[in-house]
């Protein structure tokens, strides 16, 4: 039917340019250009929106997620490391504190023991001293008693020889004591 007209309707190259017109202004090509533009651009739009772009988008999103995930893991590990460091430092500090306390306590007990021993030794020494002093005093007293007796006997002898009179030992002792005051 219209098939015969078809061949006549086709643009023959050269004819239009012979008139000096722009090929772009040849309206006979418009229908064909629009038809194929709709087909090709429509195809491109479908392929891009259904296949290509979702794929590119998902790869970019996956990479973004991966990077975010890796950064989060790194942050978590960093936090764990710093927590471990903090725990180590606090353990170190408490150990140091305990060591100081222990040393203090030991020093105190040692000091107390030393004080106690020293006090005991002092007390022993004091006792020995007191005893020794007491002994010396007793010895001195005894010696002094002997001296009086010897002196009174000597005095009685001397009186008997001088005046021939017998003096009792009690009187002589009394006389010696009164002289010594």
């Amino acid at each position: 039917m219209q098939d015969i007209e078809t061949t006549e309707g086709i643009v023959v190259p050269g004819e239009e340019h012979a008139e000096g017109g722009l090929p772009q202004m040849n309206a006979e090509t418009y229908a064909s250009q629009l038809f194929w533009l709709v087909l090709t651009f429509g195809f491109l739009l479908v392929v891009l929106s259904k296949v290509a772009l979702p794929k590119i988008g998902s790869v970019i999103a996956a990479r973004k997620d991966r990077i975010t995930g890796d950064l989060e893991t790194a942050e978590r590990l960093r936090k764990e490391a710093s927590d471990a460091l903090a725990a180590y430092e606090s353990a170190l500090a408490s150990a140091r504190g305990r060591a100081t306390t222990l040393a203090d306590e030991k020093r105190k007990t040692v000091n107390a023991e030393m004080d106690r021993l020293k006090a005991a030794a002092d007390a022993q020494t004091q006792t020995a001293l007191t005893e020794a002093e007491a002994r010396i005093e007793e010895t001195r007293k005894r010696a002094a008693g002997h001296v009086q007796q010897v002196a009174s006997e000597a005095a009685a002898d001397i009186v008997e020889r001088l005046i021939g009179e017998k003096v009792s030992s009690a009187d002589a002792l009394q006389a010696v004591q009164s002289i010594r005051g």
Binding site: I10, M25, L44, L48, L53
Partner: protein, 258 residues
């Protein structure tokens, strides 16, 4: 045939085809649309075929373009604009690869057997893309704000300025699809025309013989510079197309309250 500077934009049928009385022949323009879409699809599929945590070069290229467009939308239209990410990404890639592939000298490589063609150098293509964006902005705006969408044309100014500024806002809104499409089309048209014009200078001077042949080096150097510039323009225009689309979408999504 005498290859004028406009010859490169000609559309030739390859496979004649008609549907419902309308000529929809598979032309060299259609072929290049297919090449553009196939290249994008193949590149992205290959890039992500062995998607790994540590990306290959191709994979990071795909990922960079993904984040580039996503960030662009997020900064100009907010997170709400990301709903339109596949569309804007497709738009950016389509325009970018059309622009870039049209710059590759297939004609030279194949000895004239196969001509490169820039899909986006045709106003009908860029206008169709721009009108799609325009229609989308209106649909999104009305779907989201209903009648309040019309406040887009009422700028925050003293009331007595409104009679002047509201028509300006309406005109600027309506001219968006035109400026969006003409900007891309004209850039491609001008760049490619310039390349061919300087190319014909090289050939002409070289054929002139004598001292003039030596002068053909000058337009050759210009071509090298212009080609480098055109690659920049090719990227820039794709970026401009995509960012303007997100800015227009931002208007529809957030009206004036951004």
């Amino acid at each position: 045939m005498a290859a004028g500077p406009m010859e490169q934009f000609a559309v030739h049928p390859i496979i004649p085809l008609e549907i419902g009385g309308v000529d929809v022949s598979f032309t060299n323009a259609s072929l290049w649309m297919v090449i553009v879409v196939a290249t994008i699809t193949l590149l992205l599929t290959m890039a992500m075929s062995k998607s790994s945590m540590v990306p290959s070069r191709l994979q990071s290229l795909a990922e960079i373009s993904y984040t580039f467009i996503a960030d662009m939308i997020r900064s100009s239209a907010g997170t709400e604009g990301l709903k339109f990410f596949p569309f804007i990404f497709a738009l950016f890639m389509f325009v970018l690869f059309s622009n870039m592939l049209g710059l590759l000298p297939f004609q030279l490589i194949t000895g004239g057997a196969f001509h490169q063609f820039t899909v986006t150098s045709h106003i009908i293509v860029t206008l169709a893309l721009a009108l799609t964006v325009f229609a989308m902005v209106i649909v999104v705006g009305i779907a989201k704000h209903g009648f309040r969408f019309l406040t887009l044309f009422v700028p925050h100014v003293p009331w007595y300025m409104l009679p002047i500024l509201t028509p300006i806002e309406i005109i600027s809104f309506l001219s968006r699809p035109i400026s969006l499409s003409v900007r891309l089309f004209a850039n491609m048209l001008a760049g490619h025309t310039m390349l061919v014009v300087f190319g014909s200078f090289v050939v002409g001077l070289a054929a002139a013989g004598g001292a003039l042949s030596a002068l053909s080096v000058i337009p050759m150097l210009v071509i090298i510079g212009v080609t480098a510039l055109e690659f920049l323009v090719a990227f820039l225009q794709a970026y401009v197309f995509a960012i303007l689309t997100s800015i227009y979408l931002n208007d529809a999504l957030h009206l004036h309250d951004h």
